[in-house]
C-alpha cells in the first residue's frame, strides 16, 4: 500500500476542516433558520409567504447548484479574490437555514395549541409566551431531528470540494491524484466520515427514543 502516514495525516487535516465547516454551517444555519421558523408562524401573512417561498426555493435546488451560484455569484458582485471557504460556507448556511427552519417550524407547531392558549390567558405578551412557555417545549422536541440534520450537514460539506475547498473529500481527491489508488483512499475518507457521523446518528436515535418514552 502506497498510502503513507503522511497521506493519512493530510486526510485527517481535511477531516478537521470538515468539522469546522460543519460548525460554521450549523451555527449560521441555526440563527437564520430560527428566524425563518418564527417567520413561518408569524401572524402576518406576507412574512409567512416570504419565508415559505425562500424555503421552497432553497429546498428545491440541489446544494451543488447553490454552491456554484455563490461561488460564481460572489465573483460577479466583485468579491473575486475570496477563499473558497467563504462561498462554501455561505452556500451551506443558506442550505441549512431552510431545512432547520422547516424542522423547527414543525416542532413549534407540535406544541399543543392549548399551551398557547393557557399562556395567553395568563396575560403574557406574545414574546413572553414564546420564550417562557413554547420555546422550552419546542426545543425538547427539536433536539433529536436537529442532531439528525447535523449529520446531513457534515455529509454535505463534502460538496465544498467541488469549489476547491480542501476538506475531507477534497483531501482524498488530492491524495488520490498523487498515488492513484482511488479505492483505498476513498475507503479511508469514508471511514473518517463514518467516525464523525455515526456517534451523531446514534445520539439522535437515542434522543428520539427518550422523547417517545416520555410521551404519554
Amino acid at each position: 500500500m502506497s498510502l503513507t502516514p503522511v497521506h493519512i495525516e493530510f486526510i485527517a487535516t481535511g477531516a478537521l476542516w470538515t468539522v469546522g465547516l460543519s460548525a460554521i454551517a450549523f451555527v449560521g444555519g441555526s440563527i437564520l433558520g430560527f428566524a425563518l421558523a418564527l417567520a413561518r408562524i408569524s401572524p402576518v401573512p406576507f412574512v409567512r409567504r416570504c419565508a415559505g417561498t425562500y424555503i421552497q426555493i432553497v429546498q428545491g435546488t440541489p446544494l451543488l447548484v447553490t454552491l456554484f451560484l455563490f461561488y460564481f455569484g460572489l465573483a460577479v458582485v466583485g468579491f473575486d479574490s475570496l477563499p473558497a471557504i467563504v462561498a462554501a460556507g455561505l452556500g451551506l448556511v443558506i442550505y441549512s437555514s431552510a431545512f432547520l427552519g422547516e424542522i423547527w417550524r414543525g416542532c413549534l407547531e407540535s406544541v399543543p395549541k392549548t399551551q398557547w392558549e393557557a399562556a395567553e390567558c395568563l396575560a403574557l405578551t406574545r414574546w413572553q409566551r414564546m420564550v417562557r412557555v413554547i420555546l422550552p417545549q419546542a426545543m425538547r422536541i427539536a433536539t433529536a431531528p436537529t442532531v439528525g440534520f447535523l449529520v446531513q450537514i457534515v455529509k454535505n460539506t463534502s460538496l465544498a470540494s467541488v469549489v476547491g475547498f480542501v476538506e475531507l473529500a477534497q483531501a482524498g481527491k488530492l491524495v488520490n491524484n498523487t498515488i492513484f489508488e482511488p479505492f483505498t483512499v476513498f475507503i479511508v475518507v469514508a471511514a473518517f466520515y463514518f467516525v464523525i457521523c455515526y456517534p451523531l446518528s446514534a445520539w439522535s436515535r437515542s434522543l428520539e427514543r427518550k422523547l417517545n418514552a416520555g410521551r404519554r
Partner: protein, 227 residues
C-alpha cells in the same frame, strides 16, 4: 455592481438545457425503481430474515447513512474499475444512487412493516393464508401505502442529489450547466436557470408521485384518507 445580467446569451442553449432535464429524469427514474426494489427486499430481510442477514443489512444501512453520497459515488465508480468492468459514467451513477437510496428506502419501508398490527397477521393466518401470502397481502401492501409520502420525499431528494453525479461526468442537468457556463462565461445566469429548472422538476416529480398514488392505491383515490 457593474455586472450586467445577460440571460439572452443562454437562449441558443435551451435545447441542451431540456436535454439535461430529460437525462436527469431518466437517471432518477431508473435509480428510484431499482432503489425501491432493493430497499424493500432489504426491509423484508431485516424484518424476517435470519440473524446474520439482519446484521448485514443493518451494517449496509449504517454505512450509507453515515457517509456522503459524493464519496459513495467515487467508491462505486472506482470499484467497477478495480473489478476490471468497463461501465459508462451513467451506469456507475445509477448504481451508486441505487445503493444509496436503497438504504434509505429500507428504513422507511421497515418502519411501515413494523406499523402493521400483529392482529392483522393473526386474522390472515386464521383464514388459512400461508406466511408468504399473509406477508404480501396483509403486511407489505398496506405498509407501502402508509409510508408512500415518506418515500415520495426521499425520491424527490434523490432527483436533486443526482446533480452530484456530474462529478464523475455522468450526463445530467448539472453537467450540462457546467458545460454551458464554461462556453458562455455567463456562470451566474446559467446556474440561476439551472436552479429554476430543478425547482420546476421537484414540483413535477412530486406531482407525478401523487398522481401515481391515485392510480395504484384505489382506497386513497376513493376515500382520500391516509391508511
Amino acid at each position: 455592481m457593474t455586472y450586467q445580467f445577460d440571460f439572452s446569451a443562454l437562449l441558443p442553449y435551451w435545447p441542451l438545457f431540456l436535454e439535461g432535464v430529460w437525462l436527469t429524469l431518466k437517471l432518477s427514474a431508473l435509480a428510484t425503481i431499482f432503489g425501491f426494489v432493493v430497499g424493500t427486499l432489504c426491509a423484508v430481510a431485516r424484518a424476517e430474515g435470519p440473524r446474520w442477514l439482519k446484521t448485514v443489512v443493518a451494517i449496509y444501512v449504517e454505512m450509507i447513512r453515515n457517509t456522503p453520497l459524493l464519496v459513495q459515488i467515487f467508491l462505486v465508480y472506482f470499484g467497477f474499475a478495480s473489478l476490471g468492468l468497463k461501465v459508462t459514467a451513467n451506469t456507475a451513477a445509477v448504481a451508486a444512487l441505487v445503493v444509496n437510496v436503497g438504504a434509505y428506502t429500507c428504513e422507511i419501508v421497515r418502519a411501515g412493516l413494523e406499523s402493521i398490527h400483529k392482529s392483522q397477521l393473526e386474522a390472515a393466518e386464521c383464514l388459512g393464508l400461508t406466511r408468504t401470502q399473509t406477508y404480501w397481502h396483509v403486511i407489505v401492501r398496506p405498509a407501502i401505502e402508509r409510508v408512500y409520502p415518506a418515500l415520495t420525499s426521499q425520491y424527490v431528494l434523490l432527483m436533486l442529489a443526482s446533480s452530484i453525479t456530474s462529478q464523475i461526468s455522468a450526463e445530467e442537468l448539472t453537467a450540462v450547466a457546467n458545460r454551458i457556463q464554461s462556453d458562455t462565461f455567463r456562470s451566474f445566469e446559467t446556474y440561476i436557470v439551472t436552479g429554476v429548472l430543478y425547482i420546476i422538476l421537484s414540483f413535477v416529480v412530486r406531482l407525478a408521485f401523487t398522481l401515481f398514488a391515485l392510480v395504484i392505491f384505489p382506497r386513497r383515490r376513493k376515500l382520500g384518507t391516509a391508511i
